[in-house]
Amino acid sequence: MKAFLKRYKVFLLLIIVNIIVGFALPEIGLKSLNLTKKNFIEMISVIPPIFILLGLLDVWVDRATMMKYTGKNSGLKGVLIAFLLGSAAAGPLYAAFPIAGIMLKKGSSLFNVFVFIGAWSTTKIPMLTFEAASLGIHFMITRLILSIIGILIIAGITEKLLNQEQQKKIYEINQ
């Protein structure tokens, strides 16, 4: 019980805040409650398959395979695989972090994991079609070209700005 309270203290605090807001400003309180409910249903309906795939990935793909394809010495092929993995994904960015954690656990290189995160965040194929439909094909393509360059640069700089010790630590927290 105590452990539960400790883990969920921020969540419980936010509920209290929401209730207070609800009493002070019923309109906003009710609206936020409805939004939270809608988001919760939407997210909880995408999450189960993601985590099941995650579990399967963890059990069936061994470290050697992941390292071979996306590890330090995987070269351009590794970057491409990480990029395609991220682009083929569905779901919000926060669903990508646990998957990135598994990739790290299995020995993917940090650069490739950052490429994966970048691709997941902006070049998801379903999103691109939707972007083109909403804002026009020119907007989508211009942003896509910029994003591909940006993803590589961001991944490169992020990796470079972490020293050996810090990189080791990231691998450690994902063991």
């Binding site: 906003i28 936020s32 994003s147 700089i157 972490l162």
Partner: protein, 159 residues
């Protein structure tokens, strides 16, 4: 639609896995549950924060901020709103399209869309759990800077 594909993949994967090795499948499910339970507290908190933020910042407010104030302040404002909001692309793109029709510039919209996708202020706790504080900060700051640059390029190209 993509949710169904995801379910199809997960279901198919589970079936094959179960057929090949029951114990491993059980282990996979246990791991799936454990990693979900691991992020649950942050996940629930984020949901409430989004609900509160969107209830206070109505679409009308967002439109006013992005539509009337053009130029660099509009871009920076759009980038900041994009960084703190967390709405799925399927909602964001129609919103962006509506903003654009109501007079917001491509530059502001590009800044909003890019930061929305790449920068996650509310999801920082989750990201830190995987990448640690330093890498998370670096990635988000770079993504923010990149979004501004991309916005300017798009604004110039699509004039």
């Amino acid at each position: 639609m993509f949710t169904y594909i995801l379910y199809g993949l997960a279901g198919g994967g589970l079936a094959i896995s179960f057929f090949k090795d029951r114990n491993k499948t059980k282990m996979a499910l246990r791991k799936a549950w454990r990693s979900f339970e691991n992020i649950l507290p942050q996940f629930l908190s984020i949901l409430i924060i989004i609900g509160l933020a969107l209830a206070i910042l109505s679409p009308e407010t967002i439109t006013v901020l992005l539509g009337t104030r053009s130029g660099i302040w509009g871009v920076i404002g759009a980038a900041m709103i994009g960084s703190v909001t967390l709405i799925p692309g399927f909602v964001a793109f129609p919103l962006a399209a509506a903003l654009q029709k109501n007079g917001a510039g491509y530059m502001q919209i590009a800044a909003f869309v890019s930061t929305l996708m790449m920068v996650g202020i509310v999801t920082l706790p989750l990201e830190i759990k995987t990448f640690g504080k330093r890498a998370t900060m670096i990635r988000n700051i770079l993504a923010f800077a990149f979004s501004l640059i991309a916005a300017f390029v798009i604004g110039v190209v699509l004039k």
